[in-house]
Amino acid sequence: MILFTILEDALWSAVVSVGFAILFQAPRKTLFGCAVAGGFGHAVRRFFITLGMAIESATFLGALVIGFWALYFSRRHKTPSTIFSISGCIPMIPGLTAYGAIQSLINLTSSTPDTGVFIVYDAILGLIRTGLILMALTLGILIPRLVFQREKPVV
C-alpha cells in the first residue's frame, strides 16, 4: 500500500518536472533526466515523511537525491546540471504552505483581537515553514554540485 502511494507520487512529480522543464525551454534530450530527478526526489521525500520525519528534513534528503541525479545526467548528456536540478525541485516547492500563509494574512484584516492571535500564529508558522522548506530545497540540490563538481579554477 505504501509502495503504491510512493509510486503514484513519483509518477505525478515526474509529470510536474517535465511540465516545468518545457516551460524553461529545456532541450528535448534532457526531459527524461528531469522526470527521473523530479520523480525520485519527491518519492524519497514522501518515503521519509511516511516514516514520520519532519517535512523540512525530508525535503533536504529528497533534494540531495535530485542533486546527485542532476550530476549524473549532466555528465551523461554533457549539459549544465542546473537544467535537471531546477526542473526536478519544482514538485517540492511549498506552494500549499505559502498559499495558506497568505490566506491567513488576508483573514487577519477582518479579525478581532481574540481570533487574531490564532490567525497571526498560523500566518507566521506558514511563512517560517515555507522559508525553511525553500532553504532545505536549495541547499540539498546545491551541496552535491559544490562538493563533486569542482573544476580547476580558471578565473
Binding site: W12, S13, V16, L23, S85, I93, G95, L96, Y99
Partner: protein, 271 residues
C-alpha cells in the same frame, strides 16, 4: 599543477593582431551575454567567457558579471581591450545554456575557430523557442494539475487546475509577447489563474476546491532566480546573488498580490 596568478606569468602565446583581439572579446562576451540573459549562474558565465577568450588566443581575461551586464578585459601580449555588454532581456531558456556549453567545449578542443564561433552564436541568438507555444500551454497546465494531485486533490481538482493554469499561461504568453512590464505580467497572471480556478469553488467540485486555487498559481514560481541566487551567494558572487534573490522575492510578492486581489473579489460573492 602550477596555476598562473597574473597575466604576466602566461606570455607563451603569440600576441594577437589588433582586429583579432577585438573580435575575440566580442565573441566571448556575446556568449556571456546570452548566458546571463537566459538564466545561467554567475560562475558558469565567468568560466565560459574565460574559456572562450583564452581558447581563441588571448593570454588572460578579467571578468566582472553584474545583474544588468558584463564588463571584461582581454589581454594579449602588451595589448588589451575592455568592453561592456548590457543584457537586453530577462528570460529562462535552458536550450541556449546547453548550446553555449557545447560550443565552448568545441572551441576549447579546437573544433571551432573565430568564424564558425560567430556563425554558431548568431544561430543560437536567433534560435527562439524550442517548443510550440501550445505545447508549453498544455504541459504547464498538466504540470500544475499534477502538483494539485501531489497536495491531495482528486481528479475534479486536477481538471480545474489544468484549465486554470493553462488559461493563465496563455495570458502570460500573450502579455510577454507584447513586452509588458514583468511585474504587471506576474500580478495579472496570478489573478487570472485564481479567477479561473474559482470556478471549482463556485460549483463546489472535488474533495477540496481550494487546492486548485493554491496549485494554479505555481506556474509563476521563481525557481530559476532563487536557485541561481543561492548558488551565486554560496560561491561568493554576492552582487548577482543578492540581485537575483530580490528578483525572486519580488515575483513571489507579485503572486501574493494577485492572490489577494482575487480573494477580495471572491469575497464579494460570499466565499
Amino acid at each position: 599543477m602550477h596555476v598562473p596568478l597574473s597575466p604576466h606569468e602566461v606570455i607563451q602565446k603569440p600576441p594577437l593582431p589588433h582586429e583579432e583581439l577585438t573580435d575575440v572579446i566580442k565573441l566571448a562576451m556575446w556568449a556571456g551575454q546570452l548566458l546571463l540573459q537566459y538564466g545561467a549562474d554567475t560562475a558558469r558565465i565567468e568560466e565560459t567567457i574565460h574559456r572562450i577568450g583564452t581558447a581563441l588566443g588571448c593570454d588572460w581575461l578579467d571578468i566582472i558579471v553584474l545583474p544588468e551586464g558584463i564588463i571584461a578585459t582581454t589581454v594579449s601580449g602588451t595589448e588589451f581591450r575592455t568592453k561592456v555588454r548590457r543584457i537586453v532581456r530577462m528570460a529562462v531558456n535552458f536550450s541556449v545554456l546547453d548550446e553555449i556549453n557545447t560550443l565552448s567545449h568545441q572551441i576549447v578542443q579546437g573544433k571551432a575557430d573565430r568564424f564558425t564561433t560567430r556563425a554558431e552564436l548568431r544561430r543560437i541568438s536567433d534560435m527562439g523557442h524550442s517548443y510550440n507555444r501550445w505545447v508549453v500551454v498544455g504541459m504547464v497546465g498538466l504540470g500544475c494539475a499534477a502538483l494539485s494531485r501531489l497536495i491531495g486533490g482528486d481528479f475534479a481538482v486536477f481538471g480545474v487546475t489544468f484549465f486554470a493554469s493553462a488559461g493563465a499561461m496563455f495570458i502570460r504568453q500573450e502579455m510577454l509577447s507584447r513586452h509588458i512590464n514583468m511585474m504587471v505580467v506576474v500580478v495579472t497572471t496570478s489573478f487570472v489563474a485564481q479567477m479561473l480556478a474559482s470556478v471549482g469553488l463556485l460549483l463546489n467540485w472535488g474533495n477540496n476546491p481550494r487546492l486548485a486555487l493554491a496549485a494554479s498559481v505555481l506556474l509563476l514560481v521563481p525557481g530559476v532566480p532563487l536557485v541561481n541566487s543561492a548558488q551565486d551567494i554560496f560561491q561568493g558572487f554576492l552582487t548577482t546573488g543578492i540581485a537575483r534573490a530580490i528578483n525572486g522575492t519580488l515575483i513571489t510578492l507579485g503572486i501574493a498580490i494577485g492572490v489577494v486581489f482575487a480573494s477580495s473579489f471572491l469575497r464579494l460573492g460570499g466565499f
